[in-house]
C-alpha cells in the first residue's frame, strides 16, 4: 500500500471535516496550482481550542494530515497547539511517503495560520517568530 492504515482511515473517514460558520480564526495555506489547499477553522474559549474543523483540496495524505492535525489540537491551549510539528503529525499517522511530507508541513502551517488569524482579529500580541506569517507560499517553499 502507498499509505499506512491510519492514513487511509483518516482519509476515508476524516474527523472534524466541514466549514465552520462562526469560527474565531480561519487559516488557509497552500496553492491550487500545486494541488493542495488546506483551510482550518478554530473556535477559541478561555485560551483553548474549543472546536476545530477543516476543508482540504488535495491528495489522500493532504486530507489525512488535516484530519489528524485537528484531532491533535482539539481542546488544547493555543500555546500548545502552536507547538504542533509536522513531524508529530507524520508520526501519529504511522508515517507518510517521502514525497508527501510537505502535506504534513501544510497541516502544521494551517493550524498556525488559524491561530494567527484569531490573534490578529482580537488584537492579541504574539511573537511573530513563532508563527508562520501565512504569506509564505507553501507551494514554493516545498516544491522548489
Amino acid at each position: 500500500m502507498l499509505y499506512s492504515e491510519k492514513v487511509m482511515d483518516h482519509f476515508q473517514n476524516p474527523r472534524n471535516v466541514g466549514k465552520m460558520e462562526d469560527a474565531d480564526g480561519i487559516g488557509e495555506v497552500g496553492n491550487a496550482r500545486c494541488g493542495d489547499i488546506m483551510r482550518m477553522y478554530i473556535k477559541v474559549r478561555e485560551g483553548c481550542i474549543a472546536d476545530v474543523s477543516f476543508i482540504t483540496f488535495g491528495c489522500g495524505s493532504a486530507i489525512a494530515t488535516s484530519s489528524m492535525a485537528t484531532e491533535m489540537i482539539k481542546g488544547k491551549p493555543l500555546e500548545e497547539a502552536l507547538t504542533l510539528s509536522n513531524k508529530a503529525v507524520v508520526e501519529a499517522l504511522d508515517g507518510l511517503p517521502a514525497n508527501k511530507i510537505h502535506c504534513s508541513v501544510l497541516a502544521e502551517q494551517a493550524v498556525k495560520a488559524a491561530i494567527k488569524d484569531y490573534y490578529d482579529k482580537n488584537g492579541i500580541p504574539y511573537d511573530r517568530e513563532l508563527l508562520c506569517t501565512g504569506d509564505c507560499d507553501a507551494c514554493h517553499m516545498h516544491h522548489e
Binding site: 483551510r39 476543508i55 514525497n99
Partner: protein, 397 residues
C-alpha cells in the same frame, strides 16, 4: 459489492490466455538458445521467427523489418536515436515531435538536444490533435526525423498518421510513430500509412511485460542501443526473451482477430461514459470529441484533486488513473493535460478511464455513479470548490 472493475488498460492489460499458453510452450518446449546450432536451439529459433512473421503480418510489414525489444520505451529510444544519428551524418540535426508524447520519446529528445540537436515540439492544440499542416510548417531542410504518436496514451486522441506519413515520405524525412496505444487496437498498415519506424509494446494488447518491437522499413538506417551480440541481425544484443516474444505474438494475433468487435463494444462504452460523466457539473472531456480511440476517456472535474478520486474509486472497486501531480510522481500535473492548455489546478482533477471490452453495462453504470458520488463528496470538503461556488474564484470549466 460488484467484482473489481479494471478500467486502466492504457496502463497495462491482463495477460491473455493465448499469450500465456504460448509463453508456457516456449518455456517448456523451446527453451534452447536460438543462437545455438543444435536441434533444441534451432527449435527455439523457429519459434522466434514464427513470432516475427506473426507480428509483422498484423501491421503489414515484412518479418525482416521487425526488431524485438524489451518494450515500447526501448523501441522509442532506438528509433529516435537511430534517425537522429543517421541524419547528423548528413548534416541534418533537426528533430520534430509533439509536446504530449510519452516520456520515452520526450526524454530521448531532451538528451539529444544536449548533444547538439535542435528539437521542435509541436503544439497539440486544445483538442489534442496534431495536423499534417502543423508538421509541414515545422519542417526544415535539415529535419532528420518526425516522431508523432499514433494515439495519445492519456487522452486517447488519434493523430492523422497517414497524412503525416505521406507528407514525410514526400519530403524525404524519416517518420516514426509511437504506436504503443494503437497496435492491437486499431488497424495499422505501415505501407499504406507511409510509416518508416513504429514502436509497440506487448503488455498493452494482452501480452506480457518486457516485450515489444520496433518496425524499421527496409532501407531506413537503424543502429543498436545495446552492444554485445549478433541477435536481431546485430541490432539488439542479448539472448532473445522467447517466452515473452512468443506471448506477444500470440496476444497480437488474438487482438487483431478481435479488433473489430472490441472497437464496437468499447465505442459504445466510451459514449455512455462520456454522456454519464458530462452530467457532472463543471466537468470537461479532454481531447477531441470525434478524433479519439474507442478505449480511453479522460475528464477533469473542477475543485477536486485526482489522487483522492482514485483512492476512493479503488475503495469502490474501480481501478483508474489520473494525471494529477500526486499520481504522476512529479510535482507538476500531467504534461499531456498541460499541453492542451489546461491550467494546473484543473489538470490536478483529472481522471482517465480505459476499460476493457469485457466490461458489463452494469459496471459502466457503477463507474458513472461512483465517480459522481465521489466528486460530490470531495467537493463538499474542498476549499477550492467553496471559493468557486462563492464566486471568489472564477470557474475555469
Amino acid at each position: 459489492m460488484p467484482r473489481y472493475i479494471y478500467a486502466d488498460n492504457a496502463a497495462t492489460t491482463r495477460t491473455g490466455e493465448a499469450a500465456k499458453a504460448a509463453m508456457l510452450h516456449a518455456m517448456e518446449q523451446q527453451w534452447g538458445n536460438p543462437s545455438s546450432l543444435y536441434t533444441l536451439g534451432q527449435y527455439a529459433k523457429e519459434g522466434l521467427e514464427a513470432a516475427r512473421t506473426a507480428v509483422a503480418a498484423v501491421i503489414g510489414a515484412d518479418a525482416k523489418e521487425i526488431i524485438f525489444t524489451s518494450g515500447g520505451s526501448e523501441a522509442d529510444n532506438q528509433a529516435i536515436r537511430s534517425a537522429a544519428y543517421a541524419g547528423a551524418k548528413k548534416g541534418k540535426k533537426h528533430l520534430i515531435s509533439t509536446a504530449f508524447e510519452h516520456h520515452a520519446v520526450l526524454h530521448t529528445l531532451q538528451t539529444l538536444e544536449k548533444e547538439g540537436f535542435a528539437v521542435t515540439l509541436l503544439d497539440v492544440h486544445e483538442n489534442g490533435v496534431v495536423t499534417a499542416e502543423d508538421v509541414a510548417a515545422a519542417l526544415r531542410p535539415d529535419t532528420a526525423l518526425v516522431s508523432v504518436m499514433a494515439v495519445n496514451n492519456e487522452i486517447g486522441t488519434v493523430m492523422p498518421i497517414e497524412a503525416i506519413g505521406s507528407l514525410c515520405r514526400e519530403r524525404g524525412v524519416v517518420f516514426h510513430t509511437d504506436a504503443v496505444q494503437a497496435v492491437g487496437h486499431m488497424p495499422l498498415d505501415v505501407h499504406a500509412m507511409k510509416i518508416d519506424m513504429l514502436s509497440a509494446s506487448a503488455h498493452k494488447f494482452g501480452g506480457p511485460r518486457g516485450a515489444g518491437f520496433l518496425y524499421v522499413r527496409r532501407g531506413v538506417p537503424v543502429q543498436p542501443l545495446i552492444a554485445g551480440g549478433a541477435q536481431e541481425r546485430n541490432l539488439r544484443a542479448g539472448t532473445e526473451n522467447l517466452p515473452a516474444i512468443a506471448g506477444m505474438a500470440a496476444a497480437l494475433q488474438q487482438a487483431a482477430e478481435g479488433m473489430v468487435a472490441e472497437a464496437a463494444r468499447l465505442t459504445a462504452v466510451r459514449e455512455r461514459l462520456i454522456a454519464g460523466l458530462s452530467a457532472i457539473p463543471h466537468s470537461r472531456l479532454n481531447g477531441d470529441r470525434q478524433q479519439r480511440n474507442p478505449g480511453t476517456v479522460n475528464f477533469c472535474f473542477e475543485g477536486i484533486e485526482g489522487e483522492s478520486l482514485l483512492l476512493l474509486l479503488d475503495a469502490a472497486g474501480i481501478a483508474a488513473s489520473s494525471g494529477s501531480a500526486c499520481t504522476s510522481g512529479s510535482l507538476d500535473p500531467s504534461h499531456v493535460l498541460l499541453a492542451l492548455g489546461l491550467p494546473h489546478e484543473v489538470a490536478h482533477g483529472s481522471l482517465r478511464l480505459s476499460p476493457s471490452a469485457e466490461i458489463t453495462d452494469d459496471e459502466v453504470e457503477h463507474i458513472i455513479d461512483s465517480v459522481g458520488a465521489i466528486v460530490a463528496r470531495l467537493r463538499a470538503m474542498s476549499p477550492v470548490w467553496d471559493a468557486l461556488e462563492n464566486g471568489e474564484r472564477p470557474h475555469l470549466i
